[in-house]
């Protein structure tokens, strides 16, 4: 699975697209692993921008659970942002919204990752600074 990747300070933003289902979960996990290793080594944050994710199955959610566990153990962070309506409902029904750090927007995710990351993100996104 191709992930669109951006870096803001020491925060990594990765944007998957499409369906993370029984077929898509393994490629998603494989694409995620080097990024997890990177943020775990740096004790920084990985933000998953789910704006273009149409569906996620239990297998895909398990990948997120395993990834969150890995980052937690290494004093790093995993955040999921920009859930679309269907995926947001799946997170709620599966109770994943209670066990993962889910934030409404990328801007709010960056705010949790540190001032420098947010400043760089806003500059790149063209958002007005506060």
């Amino acid at each position: 699975m191709q992930l669109e990747i951006h870096r803001f300070a020491d925060t990594v933003v990765a944007a998957p697209a499409g369906r993370i289902d029984h077929l898509g979960a393994a490629p998603f996990q494989a694409a995620l692993q080097p990024l997890l290793d990177e943020v775990c080594a740096a004790r920084s944050a990985l933000v998953l921008d789910f704006a273009r994710v149409e569906y996620i199955s239990s297998v895909g959610l398990r990948v997120l659970m395993v990834s969150a566990r890995q980052t937690r153990e290494q004093q790093a962070q995993l955040l999921v942002a920009n859930l679309q309506t269907v995926v947001r409902e799946i997170f709620a029904i599966s109770r994943f919204d209670r066990v993962l750090t889910v934030v409404p927007t990328l801007d709010e995710a960056m705010a949790q990752c540190g001032a420098q990351a947010q400043v760089q993100y806003r500059a790149a996104a063209g958002a007005p600074r506060p």
């Binding site: 029984h22 569906y55 199955s57 239990s58 297998v59 959610l61 398990r62 659970m65 269907v86 409902e89 799946i90 709620a92 029904i93 599966s94 109770r95 994943f96 209670r98 066990v99």
Partner: protein, 318 residues
């Protein structure tokens, strides 16, 4: 096969509705009825019809016991939880005086699935025949053990019916009184077994106390095959998905989310959530059912999947 009737639907241990629970239901019902006409039976029924099942009814508290009505003279039952007691009384009333044969399929031998046998009245009646099927080699010894001192005052010698025990091999279909029965090994502490019943063009799958390791595609394929085109899948939806793969991983149970996914992949027609978490009250199970129906709706492919939540007394026509 004609219908499936639920006699016990609660997981892990039986529960009972409390006085406080009844009072809260009544308060909600009275609030709903406020200002509405109540002078006729039809008017009162109309008020009740506007209440959620969790208020107007209850999911019940007996542990696992499900009857499959095949249309034949023999009784088919899955698991001997505490729901076996009311089932036995109903069976006696239904065919009073006649000798009866009971085919009982055990998912496994944990306490909540066998505790009904000492109270199964048909087993006390000479002339009756009780055949217990299962994948566990300890089938007979486990059932005898729960009636040994000091756990119970009477042992198997009290039973007047003829008791038989049949070991089933996973993957092999056997014919039981005209019904094709296939057994599948499931992941649960000490193992459990699922059953697929096929007769007269209808298929019912009973799959409880079964955990699904999501990272194992071969496991998923086995269960999709087992559920394939089933008219009804009775499914262990005890936990949320998040709980089932985190704090309750390896507890041997599954979730509503995995139930929907497996049934959708298998092209099953009806998913019935079963083995309810004993800490859930009626409102909580109502909420799980509503969410599961919504999940099915937003993930539906070409074929709709009907979703129900089992309750003690529910009968599902096939």
């Amino acid at each position: 096969m004609k219908r499936v009737r639920f006699w016990g639907t609660r997981g892990s241990l039986p529960i009972a509705l409390t006085a406080d629970g009844v009072r809260r239901k009544l308060l909600t019902a009275l609030a709903t009825a406020h200002g509405r006409p109540l002078d006729t039976e039809a008017a009162r029924e109309a008020v009740l019809a506007d209440l959620p099942f969790g208020i107007a009814g209850t999911y019940g508290g007996h542990s696992s016991c499900v009857q499959i009505e095949t249309g034949g003279p023999d009784f088919f039952v899955c698991d001997m939880g505490s729901g076996l007691r009311p089932f036995g009384l109903a069976a006696m009333a239904q065919r009073a005086g006649a000798s009866q044969t009971f085919h009982i399929f055990q998912s496994h031998l944990h306490w909540d699935h066998i505790m009904g046998l000492p109270f199964f009245v048909p087993a006390f009646i000479p002339g009756n025949r009780v055949v217990v099927y299962g994948g566990h080699r300890e089938l007979e010894s486990a059932l005898r053990r729960q009636q040994e001192p000091p756990s119970f005052p009477v042992d198997f010698s009290i039973f007047g019916a003829k008791l038989e025990f049949v070991h089933l091999e996973p993957g092999r279909q056997v014919d039981v009184a005209g019904v094709g029965v296939t057994t599948l090994l499931q992941r649960h502490g000490g193992d459990s077994y699922g059953y697929r019943f096929e007769a007269q063009g209808k298929t019912v799958v009973y799959s409880t106390d079964s955990e699904h390791p999501l990272a194992d595609p071969a496991h998923t394929e086995r269960f999709v095959g087992f559920f394939r085109d089933a008219d009804l899948v009775v499914f262990d939806g005890m936990y949320s998905l998040a709980d089932s793969i985190s704090v309750k991983a390896d507890w041997g149970h599954s979730s509503n989310v995995v139930g929907v996914e497996l049934c959708q992949l298998a092209g099953a027609r009806h998913l019935c959530l079963y083995h309810h978490e004993p800490v859930f009250d009626d409102a909580a199970i109502d909420a799980v059912l509503a969410e599961t129906r919504r999940l099915e709706e937003i993930t539906r492919g070409s074929k709709p999947l009907r979703v129900s939540a089992a309750y003690d007394g529910l009968a599902i026509e096939l």
